[in-house]
Amino acid sequence: MANKKIKKRIVWGDMIFYICTLSLPVLFFIFNNFVINFNSLIMAFQKTNLETGNLEFAGFGNFADVFKEVFTSKNLTNALWRSVWGYLVTLVVTTFIPVFFCYYVWKKMAFSDFFKVVLFLPTIISSIITMTIYRFIANRLLPELYLDLFGAEILGLTSNPSTSFQAVLFYNLWMSMGGGLLVTLGAMNAVDTEVLESGRIDGTNTITEFWHIVLPSIYRIIFIGFIAGIVSIFTADYGLYGFYGSAADPETWTVGYYFTKMTLEATEVELPFYAAWGIIVSVIVIPVTLFFRDLIYNHGPSED
């Protein structure tokens, strides 16, 4: 009996501790993930009555407005294509090329420690710094160089709307090549050494080892970028806000930039429209992401 009592007391003590430690983080986890998103859903079905100032049920009015905007606003349509283009280029350049870099560093080939540090620099140095310096390079240094080399004048690359998105995209690619370095290196460190050793005994060369042993072991990490990137079609601004503030030329806009800019400039009356926009995007992105995730995790390649 006495034992039972002690046991119960200990359990209650644990329970109190359990509740005390979890309550605040869980409360905010629920708040940030459920309350905010639920409120987003409610907002998407609301409209402000301009005469009374009250919020009223709007049915699918906001959703209809979003689709109308998507199909009638050339700026938004162009932004969407630009975002898709940006995603594809970024995917190829910053997801696949760094794998080779990582493999080089992982194999501890010449100067690999030096490369590791340099590739890590853009992670620790604020993008606003590199953006500021890059702006001068793109608008001053490169036109000057072009004039010296080809004898012709060109407009500043981030100023001219016909080159500005490409210039900004290039900046992103340039800066994010080393972005996934540590994670990919970590994944490579986890490659089974026995498999590697037996490969060496079988006389595999560097390329074979990379292709048949290392790549299948780390493909999940590589494809995390691919999966996460699907969302970026609708959210990434590629640093446009850093370069141009809210005054980027419409020919540079991406969907992410458009959404952030419009939300920050929106009056309270306009917020439900952007909430509806968020719901629509989520409805598109969630199944697509989960489908590809399933495809990659359950049907991916395996080590030979």
């Binding site: 050339k74 608008n139 500043g156 100023s159 001219n160 709307p161 141009y244 030329d249 419409p250 020919e251």
Partner: protein
Amino acid sequence: MKKILSVLISVLLLGTLFSAVGCNKEEEEVDSTKTQLYVGNCGGGFGEEWLSNLIARFEEEYKDYSFEPGKVGIQVWKDTDKTKYAGDQLETTITSSDRDVIFANYMSLYSFVNEDSSALLDITDIVTQPLDEMGDTGTIEDKIQSDEKDYFNFNGKYYAVPYFSGFTGIVYDVDLFDSKGLYLRKDGTAGAKLDDPDISAGPDGKEGTYDDGLPATYEEFFEMCDFMKNTKGITPFIWTGQYTQAYTSYLYEALFVDYEGKDRASLQYNAGEIAGKNTTDLITGFENGQPVIQENVEISRQNYKELAKQPGRYYALKFWEQLIDGQYYDNLSFDDSESNLLAQADFLESTMDTDKIAMILEGTWWENEAEDVFNDMVSINEKYSKYNRRFGFMPMPKADESRLGKNVLRDGVANVVVIRGNIEESKIEAAKTFVQFACTEQSLKEITKTTGITCALDYELTEKELSEMTYFCRSVWNLQQNSDIVYARFETDDVETFVRGSGYNAFIERYSLVGEVEETNFANAMLYRDVTAEQYFNGLYDYMD
């Protein structure tokens, strides 16, 4: 060892950071035996040298005077800032400001002086009282331009005094024009020098005046640009690419007010409130590429938005269309890293290069802003000093020969001097005396001599005083004396909101739907999207509807 080295480098780096802190500015000490007065100055182009000089003279003049019991003399502190003392900011900050006297830009007095506001101190007494104690004649009220008095007089009370004038437009390199023969001849062709007997009469149509040889019409202007670019290999224009919207509007506004004339251009500020001066022509549409004009339409508070259709706007856009089409500009003018200071430097230093630049879009304050560049150049050769170089402020060319005559300038900075409404009782006398002192003939002259910038009050400069100023300052003074002036002082909130929109001060800066792409600036629209003046003007129509 490696670890120690890492820590040493880190410490060194942080040391660099904190050594910069150590070199902070020294501060003057407060002398508690003197009255303390705090002055705010909307800096920017006007700089602060003039204020330092004014304060030094004031402190010296009143060193033995007691403004408050137990204190003798006065110590004046200045704070110069470009945004803090601009009208928009002051609206929300003036009551909590630590400044007693403020020289502010873009002040629309209606938002400071109304039934609900005591933001500004009533200074009627010092405005109407003679200045003879300060060795001057007349009152400050006498110095206010006759057509400005209504604006500043609120039912017999004054809360502000107009101070600086700031005009914007084209600054040209007189030395380059003269040495390369870029002036116009009487037959309208370019190639004349200043002493050429065949030099044209300029936009005022009179020979032997300040504007001889300068382009009289848009056609002559572009003939001159063409000559510069294709015959002489000179780049006609540069302006800041960082603030394209503001600076291209400078020229747009200058062309617009000059086309419309003082009364009709002023309608955008007073919305037809002044009887007898409330009609204008409007463009109702286009036929075969030519505007159809409806004459003498009466403007009132009910229909002031029709002012977006004034022909002057179309012709200013047409001028810009030609300027862009002819590529009469340096590429840096569309580079967002080309600040106004860099554009000035490129313009000034082009005299040392083979690639010369003849004109820059600027305000009359630009020589102050370019002080550092002048100094850099003087270190190379004294001949590059601003006193040894000649620059001119160009009167606007006219749309056609039938419009030759008097130039019209637009004072766009709406600068005033005011006293904070909730100033401590003990400081009121000192603040009022300082404002009076700043408005004496001697102070106004000193300021113009120091900065080259003219003030919006009546005062004279002798030939000797003019000769002590730079060529550019004399040019501005001459042009001002020979021009009608439109003051950009808004009468009411709704008009200002409509006119200023999201940008600086023009209808044209409002969003306009050109084709299907939103474009906020006509120069960008013309360069990047091949938009014509007619399309842009029609875009405004659509916006209005």
